[in-house]
């Protein structure tokens, strides 16, 4: 069990370049199979060019979000899981007990962040576990340690809020009210609120 009350990921969107090193570090650390991605990088882009007299003005924007599991305060996956395989520990980390999981994929249907990932070979659900084994030894999650731009951090939720502020109300993430994600994002200058329709996910094939 961790000594933290609620470990939380913190991402500075103005520093994230979408390089996906965090995603690769996670896949390498946990030997994840093709198609199983505990951390996913989404590009959100929009805007247009508009004629203005003799010239054109542009409002084009794009930014990246690196999202894994937000170990939510109101995790819909835990609520819906029929076996209690999906559970939230006292230290706030949401984990899957593989001895109970039946691989029904109900949590996958429910989670608006795409966190639960089905492993076809195992026949069970898997997801980001915050690298609790590293944290228990005083280390960092593989994704945080690997970020070349130092955009991705982690820490105690309340501590991060006091130091950096941040929000989870950023498009294309869903309404935070749905699951109360423990995720802090520092918006970049073009960041849109969750219910904006100014942009679209540019890499839907990656998920």
């Amino acid at each position: 069990m961790l000594k933290m009350k609620q470990p939380t990921f913190y991402l500075d969107l103005s520093l994230c370049t979408g390089c996906r090193t965090c995603m690769i570090a996670c896949k390498d650390r946990w030997d994840l199979k093709k198609g199983v991605n505990w951390r996913r990088v989404t590009e959100y882009a929009g805007g247009d060019w508009k004629k203005d007299g003799n010239t054109y003005l542009q409002s084009v924007f794009a930014y990246f979000l690196s999202i894994s599991c937000n170990h939510c305060e109101k995790p819909i996956c835990v609520e819906k899981c029929p076996t209690t395989a999906m559970h939230k520990r006292d230290d706030g980390v949401v984990l899957i007990d593989p001895d109970k999981c039946i691989g029904c994929r109900y949590c996958e249907w429910a989670c608006p962040y795409g966190a639960p990932q089905y492993d076809e070979e195992l026949g069970k659900m898997t997801k980001c576990n915050f690298c609790v084994d590293y944290l228990e030894k005083g280390g960092s999650p593989a994704c945080v340690a690997s970020c070349p731009n130092r955009a991705l951090h982690y820490g105690e939720l309340e501590d991060l809020k006091k130091r950096f502020g941040g929000t989870s109300d950023i498009a294309p993430l869903p309404d935070p009210v749905l699951t109360l994600p423990n995720l802090l994002l520092v918006p970049q200058k073009d960041a849109r609120p969750w219910d904006s329709d100014d942009g679209r996910i540019s890499n839907p094939e990656e998920g």
Partner: protein, 294 residues
């Protein structure tokens, strides 16, 4: 999603049909009035013999949906809050009671009152199963399922398939018409038409509501019209034809006369069953979740 969810299509349609059959077998004769009809009673007593094997097969097919069915014993652990745990418990109870009733009917175990009592427990557990199935799909992150579409489609499927399946069983087993039976057929005809009417009126309203409620809801509606338009049309045509024809055959009384009219109710049931299978496939294929993609 439609092709990968065929196990759930078969499971939900079969179990809902079985629940509806028992509901109609108990409820419709109550409105027929008059005395008890021995032919009707004998046919009703045989319903469990038809339904028990179907339910057992449906439950086994549902296990194919699981990645690790050997852990299935854990599925009722989250009975406090998970609708899926409720569905599994209610479904298991329903199947167990139907098998018990079938065994009792077949072997003549217990008194008639006891078997009737078990019959009512079967109805109650069937209703509980359909209600919990509806709650499984009312996910706050999936607007198309978290709408009136789910309870309408599930309840109409249950009662419409139940009415026609029960009518088909009666048509197969009843040898002699009676006034009570004629009244029962006519009530079944009215119920069939009423359910068709509910479907035709409420579904477009529910879909229109979905389109204005949210972007994600609209995405589901677009999926239904762009990619699933033919399936939706097919479902509508088959449901209309099957239920309409079924109501006509029932109203004009199904009785065994060289099997002609009985064949009519089998055809009606078959058309509606195909319509519901197509409709359920559309239901699963219209899944669009809020937030990030997988």
């Amino acid at each position: 999603m439609a092709s990968s969810e065929w196990t759930l299509v078969i499971f939900t349609i079969t179990t809902q049909m079985c629940a509806g059959t028992f509901i109609m077998a108990k409820v419709l004769p109550m409105f027929a009035g008059g005395g008890r009809d021995p032919e009707l009673t004998r046919a009703n007593d045989s319903v469990s013999l038809f339904m028990a094997p179907l339910l057992v097969v449906a439950m086994l097919i549902s296990l194919l949906h699981l990645g690790t069915p050997t852990n299935a014993i854990n599925t009722v652990r989250n009975i406090a809050v998970s609708p899926l745990s409720w569905e599994i418990l209610a479904g298991g109870l329903f199947t167990g009671l139907v098998c018990l009733l079938a065994l009792a009917q077949w072997q003549g175990i217990g008194s008639e009152s006891l078997r009737r009592g078990i019959g009512w427990l079967v109805v109650l557990s069937g209703v509980a199963m359909v209600v919990s199935m509806t709650l499984v799909y009312t996910l706050r992150t999936v607007p198309v399922w978290n709408s009136m579409l789910t309870p309408i489609q599930f309840s109409v499927a249950t009662l419409l398939l139940g009415t026609l399946a029960w009518s088909a069983i009666l048509a197969a087993l009843v040898k002699k018409q009676s006034m009570v039976l004629q009244r029962v057929w006519r009530i079944a005809a009215v119920v069939t038409l009423a359910l068709l009417g509910v479907k035709l009126v409420t579904l477009p309203i529910a879909i229109a509501g979905l389109a204005v409620d949210s972007e994600t809801g609209l995405a589901s509606v677009r999926t239904m019209s762009d990619q699933l338009g033919f399936s939706m049309l097919l479902k509508l045509v088959l449901a209309f034809a099957g239920a309409g024809f079924g109501a006509l055959v029932l109203y004009r009384n199904v009785f065994r006369e060289e099997g002609n009219t009985a064949t009519g109710i089998y055809i009606a049931f078959g058309l509606v069953l195909i319509a519901e299978v197509v409709g359920r496939s559309v239901f699963y294929a219209s899944y669009v979740r809020v937030g990030l993609l997988n």
